[in-house]
């Protein structure tokens, strides 16, 4: 919804503004550990599979072209319900840690992620968040400002028994967060638009829908906005540091960034055609 609300402002900028890349000296800070652990359980697949990669990186100066990877950490996950420990390793030294034994997060279990890096211990906890399935995704006919956008119409049935928060991944760094505050329990549909330069038609896309926690929803909403994918411009709120749910238990002040989250995820693939031809 955010993306849509920004649009009227965009129009005016298209009418009157000009953008240019400028050189600026930016401040710098000591590198921070980034723990990016968003697990997805593809609950609608048979057999059920899960994406359980823990990505460890360091933050870098803003104009630095390479983001350093962390390959020498020890990573494991503990199922606090039964005490089972799953070890993770980075065999190809790319900073992406995979479980050494196949691992599908269970319902209602609290998992604790532990990362030990340079003698400091980082800990975060997560429980799998339920999702629902995408009933249908189709290509629509509507457009936005330029007239060359591609519309996706999505449809799903929200669970009316609880507050739900969703994260949609339309690929190509197009994320969209949604809460069911105004459609709790209904058969909901909405449209997403790819801008002209974001997609080349015809194309096959896979849309992901994940159930996420309220906290992760808040986190991701700001993440998308601050990454510049949500519009940008003078009407943006003051940008802030984005603290996640992982703490440094050894040195409180050296807090990490990133998030540990486990979601149920449904995917939907479709072929998009060029309707202008």
């Amino acid at each position: 919804m955010k993306k849509i609300l920004i649009l009227p402002i965009l129009i005016l900028f298209i009418l009157a503004s000009c953008e240019k890349v400028v050189d600026i000296d930016l401040p710098s800070t000591a590198p921070k550990l980034i723990i990016d652990a968003s697990f997805e359980v593809m609950f609608n697949k048979n057999p059920i599979i899960a994406n359980t990669t823990v990505k460890l990186r360091l933050s870098a100066d803003y104009f630095e072209e390479n983001i350093p990877v962390v390959t020498n950490a020890s990573v494991f996950i503990t199922n606090l319900a039964n005490g089972n420990v799953i070890d993770f390793s980075d065999t190809d030294l790319d900073g992406d840690y995979e479980p050494t034994t196949s691992f599908i997060p269970e319902d209602n279990s609290v998992y604790e992620l532990t990362v030990i890096y340079e003698n400091e211990t980082y800990v975060g906890r997560a429980t799998k968040i339920k999702s629902t399935t995408l009933t249908n995704v189709t290509q629509g006919e509507s457009t936005l400002f330029s007239g060359n956008e591609t519309e996706l119409e999505l449809n799903f049935i929200d669970d009316g028994n609880q507050d739900n928060y969703y994260l949609f991944d339309f690929t190509k760094n197009n994320f969209f967060t949604l809460e069911d505050r105004f459609f709790n329990g209904s058969n909901y549909n909405f449209s997403f638009f790819y801008l002209e330069d974001e997609i080349e038609l015809p194309s096959n896309v896979t849309v992901k829908m994940s159930g996420i926690s309220k906290e992760y929803f808040t986190y991701f909403r700001i993440l998308v906005r601050q990454s510049g994918q949500g519009g940008g411009g003078p009407f943006q709120p003051v940008p802030t540091s984005l603290l996640g749910n992982i703490v440094n238990t050894t040195n409180d002040a050296n807090f990490p960034l990133g998030y540990f989250h486990i979601s149920e995820t449904d995917t939907f693939s479709l072929d998009l055609v060029d309707k202008t031809k």
Partner: protein
Amino acid sequence: MLLLQDKIGKMKIYLNPFFLLFILLFSLNIYSQEKITLSGTVYDKNSNETLIGVTIYLPEVGSGTMTNEYGFYSITVPKGNYKVQVSYLGYSTILQTLDLSSKTTKDYKLVEESESLEEVIIETNVEKLNVRTPQMSVNSLSASTIKQIPVVLGEADVLKSLILLPGVTSAGEGASGFNVRGGAADQNLILLDESIVFNSSHLFGFFSIFNPDVIKDVKLFKGGIPARYGGRLSSVLDIYQKEGNSKEFKLTGGIGLVSSRLLAEGPIEKEKSSFLIGGRASYAHLFLPLFDIDNTAYFFDLNSKINYRFNKNNNLFLSTYFGKDLIRIDDSFSNNYGNTVINLRWNHLFSDKLFSNLTVIYSDYFYGLNVDAAGFEWNSGIGNFNLKYDFKHYLNNKFKLGYGINNIHSSFNPGKIKPNTTDSGIIERQLTKKYANEFAAYIEAEHKISNKLTLQYGLRFSNFLRLGQNELNVYQNNQPVIYNEQFKKYESAVATSTDSFQRSDVIKSFNNLEPRFSFSYLLNENSSLKASYNRMAQYLHLLSNTSSPTPLDVWTPSGKYIKPQLLDQYAAGYFTSIKDGDYSLETEIFYKDIQNRIDYINGGNLIANNEIETIILNGKARAYGLEVLFKKNSGNFTGWLSYTLSRSEQLTPGRTPIEPGINNGDWYSTAYDKTHDVSINTTYELNEKWKFNSNLIFQTGQPTNYPVGQYEVQGLNVPLYDDNRRNADRLPAYHRLDISATFTPSRNKNRKWKGEWVFGIYNIYGRDNAASLAFSQNQDTFKNEAIQTSIFGIVPSVTYNFKF
């Protein structure tokens, strides 16, 4: 109880000087000799429009008065023969001798200087009187000045002109609202014919809502704000519109690149009643279909007024304002917003010394959104009923008294969502509406103690009641915001229960005494020292966490969780007029202290938030600075230099020692802090045909936030920001030069149709001024970039104005 005692204690301190002054005042009245009152109304001779701020000066007694907002004046002097001088900027002065032996009513009709057949040059004391009056910190502009100042796309604009004067800035090109002396945009009281206007801009701030043809008088009070005004902290923008020509039918208009305007006015019953209808609309959108663009963005304003002069003592005015912006993108999205104001005023003279005005106002602001892509429509707004009764008591030539009451009942709709298609999954929902009542009573005096010392003092009492609403959340420990010590961040609390109220219940009540005081002390005939103090209370807050307000920001009243904003402002200044008013110099320093200025927790979502209290942190603000205004007032070459050096800061401390607050509990710059602000405006009248005008502006860049690093999460490249350096960086400095030329064809003189061309070039040297800096990754090269957005390059314009 303790709190109450504390309050009473404070009241005593505030009241003491006033009691003393009242005693002084009544003792002055005891030895009065026989006095005569001269009163009346001053009009423009051609249009019969009343004139505001005309000086009526009696040189023999060395004192005078000014006409009020309805053209009325009254002065009481000992019996005798007096010279009376009636002068007004841009009009020929009337000088006559009156034998005041009994009560005299005298109306004056002034002739515009440019229209008078022969120049009757009389040395005017206009500037000298400005030096004398204790009112300070006022920026005023005449409608004709506003029309000459070059502006973007040639659209004459009150707000854009005001920001050329000291102490006033805007958040930038294409930003709504304005900031006065380091105050926030929601701290300006904007009055249009005494009605509160909530949204002052069209098209997200590109144009202000005030039609320049309809404006009669504009005053911006930045400090020393008289007690008759209240409800906002930083400033009062008091705009009066014309009442309409009651002598003959007139058409005025202008054709510009973006919008055109037309104003029709005329008598209904000659010199008794008149009407005025003014419209303005943009039409750039009409051309969009030519480029096969199926989108639209336009605005319009409609001003209409009728007034009726029953007799000398009774006048009735009905006026309405209706303005709207509409933006539509294809069929997937539309957006409209605007103000509606309806206003009925009755002027009544109880005696030649007692003027009264009763006003009833309905005012509302509406914001609507239709998003087909998500299957919903949304609307929000604020509406209020306002009743005012104001009295002006012209007791004698040394003492004027004003008093009155004001009651505003407001209802706030934070938002309502509705499905707009049959297959939409959206469920209709109304966010909890809020209600409030604000009452105020005031008394103010202008008191001439001696030939050198004049005082202006007053006291305003305000009472704010937050009235019952359907649901009010209750939180554990009364804390809607909690600090998560583990994750080091503020989080919204979840309500433990809700209270429900009757509409007549009072959830929370606030009372404030707001003393106002200023004085002027004449150093010599041409210069004076002035100083002022004012306390203001503001009970409404505009929820906005962007660097400039947007039309979808909503207003929220103070209540159980949000306290009223309170301000103390101190200002002092030196005013001098040089060479008999050919030049003038005004310098002022000010210091402002604001309590209960809100800020928001990181990541707080303001849009459609029904529990807004769960993202609000309470803090304070301060601003201080120096203002200089040097003017050349006469000759072919006129203009001004304005300079402001100031600082505007905010502090949001943690509530307990473990909480960091915002910016680690240290002072941080507000989004509208500008250290240096210089503008030079010049006008050169070459001959009767050609007039040239220019603006040169330089400002320190606005505060912004640079990232201190970058990282990646889920494939997204994210700039890393440091919470301990909020608003610590600056956009590049802002500067530009604008010029305009006004051409008046000479054949105008004897024709009824009078036209003029205004040619302008905005930003003539094409400076790319940064409206914002955005940091994001280029999706083609995957390199991080700092992208500067500039709004206006070189913008030429042409406007044709006419009168018929």
